[in-house]
Each structure stands twice: as C-alpha cells, then as structure tokens.
Amino acid sequence: MTWSFIGWILIGLSAVLLIGFSFFFKNRGRYTVREVPGIQQLLSARAAALEKGNKLHLGIGQRMWSGLYPGSGLYSLSILPKYLDGEIRNSGAMRVSSGDGVLTVLARQIIQNQYGDRYSFLLDQNPVKSDLPAPTPASSTAGLLNLLSFEKVSSLTLVGNYGLESVLFSEALHTNAGAFFSAVGNLTSQAALYPSKKDLLIGENIFLLPVAFSGKDSAQPAWTTEDILRIVVIFIMVAAVVLKLVGLL
C-alpha cells in the first residue's frame, strides 16, 4: 500500500461520507454549528454598512488556482452567491474584485445569475459590480487600494487567495475606520494579518463562511465530513509515526 493509494482511499471516503451525510441531513436534524466570533463580527459590520448606505467590497482572490490552498478559488466563488443577499442586490452597494481575469468573469456570471433568478439584471440601475482592478497581483493591489479610498468602502471582506498585500488592505480600512474581515486561505496572508486583526479565520475555519452567510444548512454535510476526515488523518499520522518508530515503515 502506497501513500498515494491511501490518498485515494481518503478521497473515496470523503465522497461517500459527503453523499451519505447529504441525505442524512436532508431528512433529519442539524449538525451543531461552531460559533466563530469573526463571522459574527463580519455579519454585523455588513449589516451596519448596509443600514448606513455605505459601500461594501468583497475581494475574491488574486488568482483562481492554487496548489497549496486547493479549491480556494472555487471556494471564494461559492461564497459569492451567498454573500449577495436580497438587500445587497437591491442596494447595489457592493463591488466584487479580484486580481485574476478568470475570477472576475466567473464572478460576473454569478452576479448576473443571482439577478437573473429574480428580475432582469438590465433593468437594475445600480447592480453589484464585478471588476478587475488590474491583471497581476501587485497591480491589482494598487488598483484595489485606490478603489477602497475613492469609494470610501466601509466593509472589506477578503476570501480566496491573497498574499502579504492583504495587510495593506487591512490598514487602508483601518484608516477609513472601516471593518476588515479576512477568510483568506493563504498562510502568508494569515501570518501578516495576525498582528493587527483579532478575528481572523485561520486554516479550515475559512470553509465555515458560506453557511454563516446563507443561513442554510447545506454545508453541514461538508463540515461533518471534514471533521471526520480530520480525525482519520490524525489517526493515520499517529499510526505512521508509531510504525516508523518500531521500524515497520
């Protein structure tokens, strides 16, 4: 048995658990949602900004694909429709940006679908926008900093892939007395933000975000599966260490 084979077993197990729990939670009770202070902070900042008619901004990442943080691009796109609730759609007081053309195009499509599900996107005078401040990470950083300044954004949420530059966004919001929230999957960003922001989502906690927005429980099977997988992986690692110690591996 190779490590690769063990990996395939994990993938298979994940798929089976995911499907199983999806059926289970469809018919039965709820999986207890972990409380994350940062998410509550984000939701209240978002609500306050909307109430005051201020601008919101959602950064969905500097790039779509990342090996070290797999799925983070997809994850940020999956958050977008949940972030776009009715109030935001109607007010249009939000802008979505990324540093990757692919993300921008897909985000735009998602936004249009969200409007399309309810009423004509074209009829809306002030819809939520999806923009590409610039095509490379560094230029995108400069572009986004400008946007934050000119539009007086009062709530910035970063998800997906961002690097060291996220600390610049954080400080820009700090200067504007705005709320900054990060659910960035990138370790570099998390380390850079840790000294200046209290309620960061770190590690796999970032995957809790969609449920917090949607208020639905559709991600609960994923959480359950993830928790089980984590235990399985810990068990495998401990077992591997023990086997290595006794010379069987």
Partner: protein
C-alpha cells in the same frame, strides 16, 4: 368598608379580626384599609361610564319620576366616574339588601322578573359586577394586583380628596410595601428579586410611579440619546426604561419591565417561539445597534493622526536605516553562513552536469522579487552557461520572458539565446500540460510547434517567490515526470514551507534567500562573498525584532479600531 389586609397571605379580614381567617397570621399593627372592589378597579371592566351608559334607560327615568330613586340615580350620575365611589355604593347596596328593601327597589325587581330587558345596561353591569364580587370574594385572586393598583393611585390621584384609599400616606401603606412584604419575601426566596437596593424604597424610581407621573404630565419622556441614568448604573431594575442613550440599556430594561408583572400575569403565555435563525438575526441586530452607538463615541481624528505619526516615524527609521546600510555599511560578514545540505546537494548536481545538456527554467515570480531572485540564481546561471547548456523557458507570469532575459543579462553580462515555451496563465495546468507535452516531445504554439528534448530535460529549475507555487510544480512534476530532477531557487519567504519537499526527496536541491545564496556562491568561488544589500536585510530583520519586542511593552487593550470593529 375598612378591612385588614393580611401581611402574610394578603387576604382581607374584618376590622375586628386579630388573626387572618385564611392563614392564622397575626394582624396586630396592621393598618385598616378600605376594602377594594375587585373587578371594578380597572377601566377596562367597569371604568367611567360612557355618555350612552350615563343616559339612564327609560324605565329608570320613569321610576325616578315616581320618586325614591333619586338618591341612587344621583349616586350613579355623580359617582360612576370613580370606581371607589362605586364600591361604596355596592357596599351600601349589599348592606341594604340584607336590611330593608325600599319600595322603589321592590318595584324594579318585580318588573325585572316580568320583563328581562326592563333594566338598563348600567344596572345589568352592576348586577354582573356584584355577582363577580360575590364569587371571587373568598378566593382573593387579585389581592396583590388590586393593592398594587391602589399604590399607583396614591400619589397625586385626582380623587384623593374623596377617597379614603387615596389618602394613604407612606406610613399608612399596607405592609406589603415594607420589608416584611409577603410578595417580596416570596420573590427573595425564589431568587427572583434583583440584587441591589429595594426598588420600593427609592423615591421616584418605581416604573409604575414613573408611568403615573408621565400620565399626569409631571414627567416627560427622556429623549433618546441622553446619558445613562444613575439608576441604571446602580442596577436599578425599576428605573425608567427610556433614560439612556444606549440602545442596549433600553433593551435590557425593556426585558426588565416584565418583572413586576411576572407574578400577576402568566408570563409563559407571552413567550414567543422563535427559530434559531430569528434568534441569530436578533443577536445581529443587537450587535449592530450596540456597535453603532459605540462607534459614535470614538475620537477618530485623533486616533487617525496618532496612527499616521507612528507610521511616519517607523517609515523614516526604516528608510534612513536601509539607505545608510546600502551606502555606507554594505560589507556584511556572512562567514557564519554555512552551506546547508540542500545547498550542498544543489552544488553537487550543478557540478555533475555534462556540457550540452538541456535545462528547463520556470519563471514563476513577480517582478517585485527580481533583485532577490537575481542574487539567488546568478551563480547557478553562471555555472550552467559555462557548460553551454541548452536552456528553455516557461513562464507563468506575463512578463516572465522579459524577466528571464534580464536575469541572463545580469548574470553573464551578455544576451544569450534560449527557447521560449511561452506564457501559461495557470501554474497548476501549466505543470500538468508541460508534463504531457514533454512526454509527447512536442509543444504546439501559435507560431510553430516546438520540439522538446526527446529524453526529457536534465533538470527543471523553478524560480519562485511563493511556497504554493512550489507545491504545485513539485507535486505535479514528481507525479507526472518522476525521472526528471527538480531543483528550487526560491525567495526567503518561500523557503521554509518548501523545505519538506527536499527532506522527502521530491526535489534534488534547493537554495532559498540571499543568505543561502551567498553561502552557495562562496562555496562555488572558494572565497567569502558578501551579497549586495545583505546588511540592509539584516538591519530590516533587526528592526522587526525590535518592533516585536517593543510591542510587548504596550498595553494589552485594543481599541475598537484595532480589532476591526470600527466599521460603522
């Protein structure tokens, strides 16, 4: 009719009684009170009659004309506005029922028996009320509530001149309002009584008194936005609910208002069944409102200036320090930097290359890291070019080709030819794609197909500034091209997280950061090399250490802005 209210159970007892008829508690020292009329106290049940009700029916009018009824009618006309007057009337009426029945009343009763509708509405209501009193008298259901209503009326009542009950002074209040109050004791025993001073002892702090005063115009509702009252600070449960500018305080007091009614009303019936989602929305709203109020109290401009000054000072220190180190002290001693195993492996691999071999360079770094990458890759590029290796380039950044050209020019001092495999916008797919194309020995480009080395590359050298890019390339390439050697030239920030790939044997050599690069170059050249900007790098590291240590001395109490709550 005066009665004695039992201080223990609240039951009414005759004025002559020494012990409570209900609970046998002593009635010594209990002040007599006029018996309240239950069921008639509230305005809702039998309040002041309306104009229509005051119009006596024709039957009553005819009886009046016949005489004898004038007294009662006068009482009704003048006294129905007061419930206490009514109670007197009923008391008299009760007494008169037992004694002599006047003729006029006898006639009414007789006619009422014959004609059910002969009596008017008012009389019907009075009869119904009398029946109710008779039914409830023994049960004492509303003693507490009635006494409480009486207490409301005490100060400044409009009927105080006529009503004995309204003449009650503080010292004449029923004992329920004293420390021995039975209700208070029950509350204390059940733990429902709030801590702090007895609310009934605080003059003017009673919610009910406040409500009465408000109704009479002696007090006006405080404007939202006023400072929190002293009573709030003292935790006074019964203080005015709208005296604070803090919505949260209002909210708390709104909940507390229910407390006085708790023993009277069935509070369970007032509970609202809400879902978790609704509860979350309530919590969210509460947080938003609280923060909104808190945000308004902050002195932002001052803080903004403070932050700006800090930033300016730090920037000046850093810029002047780095400039000085670059211009004056740029002769760092790095003799302490030793060649680590991954560097040594890189060196061995480089020396083992045969002239004329083929190498694939992958440029996967942002232009901002150019100078660092140049210092790291310079000795390697020099060695490879000396051996006349065939070089190909694949880039995942738009300006990758230009950057690599510059790298070659800076390293060798001349422009060298290389095969450009093009720009691929997505590194994960790029790795996957190049592996497949290498296998097929052909790469289709818009201009013309590029023939790839038939036996693959002697090595793939990745120039990267991000550990995540390293992971993509290493994992994809080692899975898809296991025979090909992969070597890493990385910035110092990408190094630590990439080290496990060296330790697991997935890469054949690695250099990260200018310190390792200097050690490598020193090993290649046989003499200690001091890289450009090394002293500045050390100074920057030292400043960071200093700031972290300085931060330990600051107060451990973040502002709202610091923790990102100043959104609003």
């Amino acid at each position: 009719m005066p009665v004695l209210i039992c201080p223990v159970c609240g039951a009414e007892n005759p004025i002559s009684g020494e012990k409570c008829l209900k609970c046998d508690a002593t009635l010594d020292g209990v002040t007599p009170l006029d018996a309240p009329v239950e069921g008639l106290s509230g305005d809702e049940s039998l309040g002041s009659p309306t104009k229509d009700e005051q119009d006596l029916p024709g039957l009553l009018q005819s009886l009046k004309d016949e005489g004898d009824i004038g007294e009662v009618e006068e009482s009704l006309q003048n006294g129905l506005a007061s419930n206490d007057d009514l109670s007197d009337i009923f008391a008299e009426k009760e007494a008169s029922d037992e004694e002599v029945v006047p003729d006029w009343l006898e006639r009414i009763r007789q006619r009422a028996k014959e004609e059910p509708d002969a009596i008017g509405d008012v009389t019907q209501k009075i009869s119904a009320a009398l029946e109710t009193i008779a039914d409830d008298k023994d049960e004492n259901k509303h003693d507490d509530f009635q006494s409480w209503i009486e207490n409301i009326r005490k100060p400044g009542s409009a009927h105080s001149e006529d009503q004995p009950a309204n003449e009650l002074k503080k010292e004449n209040l029923p004992s329920r309002l004293s420390d021995e109050d039975w209700l208070m004791r029950i509350r204390k025993a059940e733990g429902k009584l709030p801590e702090g001073p007895d609310p009934t002892e605080q003059k003017g702090n009673s919610l009910l008194q406040w409500l009465i005063a408000l109704e009479e115009g002696r007090e006006t509702p405080s404007k939202l936005g006023d400072e929190t009252s002293a009573a709030d600070e003292e935790g006074d449960e019964f203080s005015s609910p709208i005296t604070s500018g803090d919505y949260q305080v209002v909210n708390e007091q709104t909940q507390k208002i229910a407390t006085p009614f708790k023993d009277v009303l069935d509070i369970d019936r007032l509970m609202v069944d809400i879902s978790d989602e609704e509860q979350e929305q309530v919590n969210l709203f509460e947080t938003v409102v609280t923060q909104e109020n808190q945000a308004g109290q902050q002195h932002r401009p001052l803080r903004k200036i403070k932050h700006w000054i800090w930033r300016l000072v730090i920037s000046l220190i850093l810029i002047s320090g780095l400039t000085a180190s670059l211009l004056v002290w740029d002769n760092a001693d790095i003799s302490g930097a030793f060649l680590s195993p991954q560097n040594a492996a890189f060196l061995s691999w480089s020396e083992a290359r045969q002239p004329g071999g083929s190498l694939l360079f992958i440029v996967d770094f942002q232009p901002g890291y150019f100078s660092e990458i140049m210092q790291i890759s310079k000795p390697i590029l020099g060695m490879m070019l000396e051996k006349d290796m065939e070089i190909s380039l694949l880039s995942t950044t738009p300006s990758g080709e230009l950057l690599f050209e510059n790298l070659l020019a800076e390293s060798t001092g001349e422009e060298l030819a290389f095969t450009d495999l093009g720009y691929l916008p997505m590194s994960s797919l790029a790795a996957y794609g190049i592996a497949n194309h290498v296998e097929n020995e052909l790469l289709q480009t818009p201009e013309s197909p590029i023939v790839l080395p038939a036996e693959g590359y002697d090595g793939i050298l990745l120039l990267s500034d991000q550990a995540e890019d390293v992971q993509i390339w290493v994992e994809q390439l080692t899975a898809l091209m296991p025979e090909t050697q992969v070597l890493l030239l990385l910035t110092s920030q990408a190094g630590p997280l990439s080290l496990p790939y060296w330790e697991s044997g997935q890469v054949d050599g690695m250099i990260s950061g200018v310190v390792e690069a200097a050690a490598f170059e020193s090993a290649v050249s046989g003499q200690t090399v001091s890289p450009v900007g090394m002293r500045a790098y050390q100074l920057g590291s030292g400043l960071m250490v200093l700031m972290l240590l300085l931060g330990l001395t600051l107060k451990n109490r973040p502002d709202k802005d610091d923790i990102g709550e100043g959104a609003q």
